[in-house]
């Protein structure tokens, strides 16, 4: 019998072209996703070198980072943003690349579009000039962010030079408590292992909690692998994966579907396979989690206190002092009841249909606290359409959220959606870096979608379980 292997090893071997002179692997990238920010320079390099796109059918484009979420007609008010969208359109036309544009009804954050279209499939390699490409690992793909020179390499050769990663298996066993979501699971993992804990690793997430998650929840987890330093994170494909993919535009059909399903079942990690490291976490130990600092590992449970320089080990003092100064939080004080200025709901982490559906259950009948600016940004035009059909958009609008059109929006503030001054934002996004949401002094507190809705209603960081009197899964008193 063949030696048992994990999914990462199997996918890596199937996509290895050769060993390069420096010892790295030339790895075939089966699926390449591009957007307007990190691709134009790559096309420029391609032209400078007189090269063509090697497999134009294996690159897919959309526009997400710079698009306004309110006024969508071109030309955009911002001439720089307008130049970027024009450049992307020109490059796609010239090189014959499929482009899900603003008029397609399929535009959205690149990490939403791949899964929605069924382009993201198990056992594949996926690269994109965006670190949150790890999202696609939810399907059992090896998916990671690349730089722009590598975007050029993929366009020209469909390959990149890369060193093999180690694999860490992260088991989360047991059952999550009421009001604890996929976002809390990944924030807890990052808090536990640190923001550089994943350097050199791919994370394989397994155990009861991930087995029971929907595909959208799995995407939330894999999305933030990079925040823990892991270039990619994945979950072995199972019936949940296949059910999500069946019937999507780019998913195999008929006999090809049956064959693909067999391949996908075989690509999952074998029982007894080797891992370079194993970490075990109990679901019962995870509570709703919020960040207090300036990286996603600086996180605490909602009922914990903000750290103080005195309480932390010597090697963390400088980082804690810097974070506390930026966040203007009182050391040793509870994080709960900290006033917020803005609530941001969206991003490739939590801008999916189930995020809006779950939050709307609690939001209905409530109003956003006076003085809080609340914006809801569906991750894709398809999510936007489905929310409209289900009346979800009305729930958000009636509560006082601004309901916007699809894009990355205030997750990284490359479009007009930005924090002002030192506003504090309760955010469903993935990064709380200094300046991330568009104002150098802006403050970001990461949390789950239901926690953001709770904060929007109360005007302060709150325990959603208390605000909504959550008694059990989905039950509201």
């Amino acid at each position: 019998m063949a030696e048992p292997k994990n999914l990462f090893e199997k996918v890596w071997e199937a996509h290895s072209v050769k060993t390069l002179q420096n010892g790295q692997t030339q790895l075939l990238i089966g699926t390449h996703l591009i957007h307007e920010v990190t691709s134009p320079q790559a096309f420029g390099m391609l032209r400078d070198l007189g090269l063509k796109v090697r497999f134009p059918g294996r690159t897919f484009a959309t526009v997400d980072h710079i698009v306004p979420t309110d006024k969508r007609t071109e030309p955009f008010d911002d001439p720089l943003a307008d130049a970027m969208i024009k450049e992307l359109r020109k490059n796609c036309e010239e090189f014959g690349i499929t482009y899900f544009d603003l008029h397609s009804g399929k535009q959205g954050i690149v990490h939403m579009v791949g899964p929605e279209q069924g382009i993201t499939q198990p056992g594949t390699t996926i690269a994109c000039g965006d670190s949150h490409t790890s999202t696609h690992g939810a399907f059992g793909a090896i998916a990671f962010g690349i730089g722009t020179s590598q975007v050029r390499d993929v366009l020209a050769t469909q390959t990149i030079a890369m060193s093999k990663l180690k694999v860490r298996r992260i088991n989360v066993s047991g059952e999550l408590g009421p009001g604890v979501y996929a976002k809390d699971v990944i924030l807890h993992i990052i808090r536990t292992l640190g923001v550089k804990g994943g350097l050199g690793y791919a994370y394989e997430y397994g155990g009861d909690v991930f087995d029971h998650m929907t595909m959208e929840e799995r995407m939330t987890v894999c999305n933030m692998s990079i925040e823990g330093g892991a270039r990619c994170g994945y979950i072995n494909p199972d019936e949940t994966t296949f059910e999500y993919l069946q019937g999507r535009p780019y998913a195999p059909k008929g006999e090809a579907w049956d064959e693909a399903k067999k391949r996908w079942q075989a690509i999952a990690s074998d029982p007894g396979c080797h891992y370079d490291d194993v970490v075990n976490i109990h679901a019962e130990d995870i509570a709703p989690t919020v960040t207090w600092g300036i990286n996603p590992g600086q996180a605490i449970f909602i009922d914990e206190r903000v750290p103080s320089v005195e309480r932390v080990p010597a090697n963390e003092k400088a980082a804690v002092a810097e974070a506390l100064e930026h966040m203007k939080l009182t050391p040793d004080a509870p994080i709960k009841s900290t006033p917020i200025d803005v609530a941001f709901f969206g991003s490739c982490t939590n801008g999916r249909l189930s995020d809006f559906v779950e939050a709307a259950k609690y939001l209905e009948g409530h109003k956003v606290r006076a003085g809080v600016k609340a914006i809801a940004v569906p991750g894709s035009q398809i999510v936007s359409q489905l929310c409209a059909e289900m009346g979800i958009d009305q729930v958000f609008k009636e509560a006082g959220f601004e309901w916007r059109e699809a894009g990355c929006s205030m997750c990284l503030a490359m479009n007009p959606d930005k924090l002002i001054g030192d506003q504090l934002c309760a955010s469903t996004s993935n990064r709380n870096f200094k300046g991330r949401q568009g104002s150098p002094n802006g403050r970001t507190v990461l949390m789950s979608p239901v926690m953001v809705v709770a904060a929007a209603i109360t005007g302060e960081i709150s325990d959603a379980r208390e605000v909504f009197a959550v008694l059990g899964h989905g039950a509201v008193a």
Partner: protein, 200 residues
């Protein structure tokens, strides 16, 4: 496309303290609204160097003593977060030719090597020693000997490390892999032919 063999780098250094310096810090997203990397150099570390009114903040990069630095010294997990190549591109265009830190985030590391900008690791104590030295004597010339993995300054020499693959790429003058990748066209076709999902 012949590339220079990068075997040693020398220059003055500047120390930017702090663990986990992310690529949003190195180049804030608003400066990425561009279709080429030209001109990014002036925005490197913009928000930590300048106030919103454009006036300078107290920062090592605004200190005239470090104005000519071409080697950046940092702490651990430098370059984490976004995959944006705009970060090492901005640093290279500013004039940085090497980074020495305790550790690096992976995507940043690879992006930098592909530009021919080595990322070199050494211990926490060594970083502190270099930082203290350049604070005292900013004119100190550091010499990075990549082949022998040593950092030399004055009469001192300390051990540094670089991944074997990056070292080979730099020292042998193949840090931009595009030529070698293009050369494997037949092997690429063969590998692709073995993957059913690429058949459509």
């Amino acid at each position: 496309m012949a590339l220079a063999k990068i075997t040693s780098i020398s220059g003055k250094a500047v120390y930017i303290p702090g663990d986990d310096i992310d690529t949003d810090r190195i180049i804030p997203a608003r400066f990425m609204k561009c279709v080429t990397f030209d001109g990014l150099g002036e925005y490197m570390f913009y928000d930590v160097r300048f106030n919103e009114d454009g006036s300078e903040k107290a920062h090592p990069l605004n200190d005239p003593r470090f104005a000519k630095a071409s080697i950046l010294i940092a702490d651990s997990n430098f370059g984490c977060g976004s995959s944006r190549e705009h970060a090492p591109q901005a640093m290279y265009r500013y004039g940085i030719r090497a980074v020495i830190a305790e550790s690096f985030a992976e995507i940043f590391y690879g992006n930098s090597i592909t530009l021919g900008m080595p990322c070199i690791s050494t211990g926490k104590e060594q970083i502190q020693e270099i930082a203290a030295l350049i604070q005292e004597k900013p004119e100190t010339e550091l010499v990075i000997d990549l082949e022998n993995e040593r950092l030399n300054f004055g009469d001192k020499s300390i051990a540094i490390s670089i991944s074997p693959t990056a070292k080979d790429a730099l020292v042998q003058g193949r840090w931009d892999p595009i030529v070698e990748l293009l050369d494997a066209d037949k092997e690429i076709s063969a590998t692709a032919a073995g993957l059913p999902y690429l058949a459509n």
